[in-house]
């Protein structure tokens, strides 16, 4: 276990290093980042001054080390727009996103698990068709479009739910459902297939022979085993959540991490974008490390097969 943990940690460190290099390289990909930082009217003297302030007159490798040094001290620079530290802006927005993501995840499980079980045990019936259709449409619908449709129906026409900004519980419903539906389609499909496989196994037949009630067999034995692959895709759900969060938060004007990224782009606020990508990637890598470790505790076979 210790060996597995150490090797996973080492891998994570290498991945983080590569990410930091990519982000650093991107910030220099446009040529001189000063063209982004300074207004078009800036003169030669301004360029020299700001260049020195940001250490841009030094050689690239040295700049990279300065940048890494700052990173390791959690210094992400300041926003160009209002001079606020990037770290502060991000820590303000992050809780909104996490709460929305948590709500969406709960909703996704609440929709995906029953539908997946229904599709799995009533294979080939109308219930299965219903579950399958939901999943296919859920995966094929672009989240921004679903968001707009929900706004048209519930906010513009029925006027029953609020759409913009964060607030009480009612504010979570539309964006949460938009984010959650895509996830639930994934949960449902995975659970259905794995449940069908589990139900074919010897021990289920054994339980039936023993006369265990069908309900107990399904919920206590079959679903418990079938849910393992669903858990193992937690990393994938994270990707889906982050990717769609930018879009959904933009559609619903949700003051989270995703919309922050969008507005930072509109404002050409380069230090902020850099910080957002770094934090986003770090959070993602850290949580995928965590799921790997948790999963290896649940299912020790993983340790042997992972690279």
């Amino acid at each position: 276990m210790l060996k597995f943990l150490l090797s996973r940690l080492a891998q994570t460190a290498v991945t983080l290093l590569i990410v930091s290099i990519v982000v650093f390289a991107l910030s220099h990909a446009s040529g001189n980042p000063l063209y982004l930082l300074l207004p078009p009217s800036a003169g030669q003297a301004d360029f020299a001054a700001v260049s020195e302030q940001y250490g841009l007159d030094k050689p690239l490798v040295q700049q990279y080390f300065i940048y890494m040094n700052k990173l390791l001290h959690f210094d992400l620079g300041r926003s160009i727009i209002n001079g606020q530290p990037v770290k502060e802006i991000i820590t303000q927005a992050l809780p909104y996103s996490l709460r929305l993501a948590g709500f969406a995840l709960a909703l996704a499980l609440a929709m995906g698990i029953p539908l997946g079980v229904l599709g799995g045990i009533k294979r080939g019936t109308r219930w299965d068709t219903l579950a399958q259709t939901t999943a296919v449409l859920g995966q094929a619908m672009p989240s921004f479009w679903l968001g707009l449709m929900l706004i048209i129906v519930f906010a513009v026409n029925l006027r029953v739910l609020p759409v913009a900004e964060a607030g009480g519980f009612r504010h979570y419903i539309l964006p949460g459902f938009t984010l959650g539906l895509i996830l639930s389609a994934n949960v449902m499909r995975l659970l259905r297939t794995s449940l069908i496989e589990v139900l074919d196994l010897e021990f289920i037949r054994m339980l039936r022979v023993k006369g265990v009630p069908e309900r107990t067999i399904i919920w206590k034995h079959a679903v418990r085993n079938a849910i393992v692959p669903v858990v193992s895709f937690a990393g994938m759900y994270l990707i889906i959540l982050v990717t769609n969060a930018v879009v959904v938060e933009t559609v619903f004007a949700w003051p989270g991490f995703g919309r922050l990224a969008y507005t930072a782009v509109l404002n050409n606020d380069f230090p902020l974008i850099q910080g957002i990508v770094l934090i986003g990637a770090t959070l993602y890598i850290a949580s995928s490390l965590m799921t790997d470790v948790l999963y290896s505790i649940v299912d020790p076979r993983i340790r042997l097969t992972s690279t």
Binding site: T15, S27, S30, F144, V242, A261, V265, I285, T307
Partner: protein, 299 residues
């Protein structure tokens, strides 16, 4: 001579028969839908009833046919600038589909070669380096990267192609590597070694051909995801730049007028949904036919 002449039409018929049989294995409705969408992507520009770019402010926000003020001249209505939605969608099909085809071709080919190489040289330094690169590529949220790229390089079709293929190669490489590991256990690989084949020649002549069926399935399953991704990026304004009518961009045009003209955003979204669902359904069937075990890998 006569035998060859007689055999030719028979051969042609079996060829067609095989294509028919192959197509019959897939659900009919998605196949028909995809045939239409692909036809439109190729010929849509020439067939569209109006210019997708010309603005006609007197005819802005016309509803689709069947509603009040709706006309057959603008069967799916017009947008905020009076541009014909049907024409824009027909032209947009080319933008969305060609981008998906290009990125997947580049990404899957690259990913297959790299993944097969990593699997073939498993445990060596190259394997380590390639797989860590794949991890890193997968751990940067693609949408965020697209936003950064749009700021530093400006949004363009080709930037998008490069960006999305960089993401696809990593996903493909990981799955293909696992597949290649299994292939390398087979006897024929050991025999090829004994026969004195060089490493690269085994890789290209024996390993890669034996994982290519997986690559084809992965490519099909990826199409839907890429179409949605492109649409999302275009919706955010960092995808295919205007006035090119990508489907996502058309939805974005409708966003500002959803309170008064809901159809502008609704119609292209339905097109995206139907197309992606068709690709996914066909991809699923393909996976089940070629390699059912891929399902467990989340492909």
């Amino acid at each position: 001579m006569t035998t060859i002449a007689a055999a030719a039409p028979f051969k042609a018929r079996t060829w067609r028969l095989r294509l028919w049989k192959e197509l019959r294995a897939y659900p009919a409705i998605p196949v028909v839908i995809l045939a239409i969408v692909i036809f439109l992507a190729i010929f849509g520009g020439a067939l569209s009833p109006h210019s997708p770019y010309d603005q006609a402010l007197r005819q802005r926000l016309l509803p689709p046919v069947g509603m009040d003020r709706g006309t057959w001249d603008h069967a799916l209505g017009t947008d905020n600038l009076g541009r014909d939605t049907l024409s824009r969608m027909m032209t947009g099909a080319r933008v969305s589909l060609s981008l998906a085809a290009l990125t997947i071709a580049v990404g899957v080919v690259l990913g297959t070669v790299i993944g097969a190489a990593a699997g073939f040289y498993a445990g060596r330094l190259w394997d380590m380096i390639l797989m860590r690169l794949a991890d890193a590529a997968l751990s940067i949220p693609l949408v965020l990267l697209a936003l950064v790229l749009a700021v530093v390089r400006g949004a363009s079709y080709w930037n998008l192609v490069i960006l999305i293929s960089l993401f696809i190669w990593a996903r493909t490489a990981r799955i293909i590597r696992g597949q290649a590991l299994q292939v390398c256990q087979r006897d024929y690989i050991a025999l090829a070694r004994v026969a004195g084949c060089s490493g690269p020649s085994i890789l290209f002549r024996h390993v890669i051909p034996n994982v290519s069926h997986v690559a084809i399935v992965l490519a099909t399953l990826e199409v839907g995801a890429v179409i949605i991704l492109e649409a999302s990026l275009s919706f955010l304004g960092v995808g295919v730049p205007p006035p090119n009518p990508s489907w996502g961009a058309i939805v974005a045009d409708g966003r500002g007028v959803i309170a008064s003209a809901w159809w502008v955003a609704t119609v292209p979204g339905i097109a995206i949904m139907i197309t992606v669902a068709s690709f996914n359904l066909i991809g699923d069937r393909m996976r089940d036919r070629f390699d059912p075990r891929l399902r467990q890998r989340g492909a």
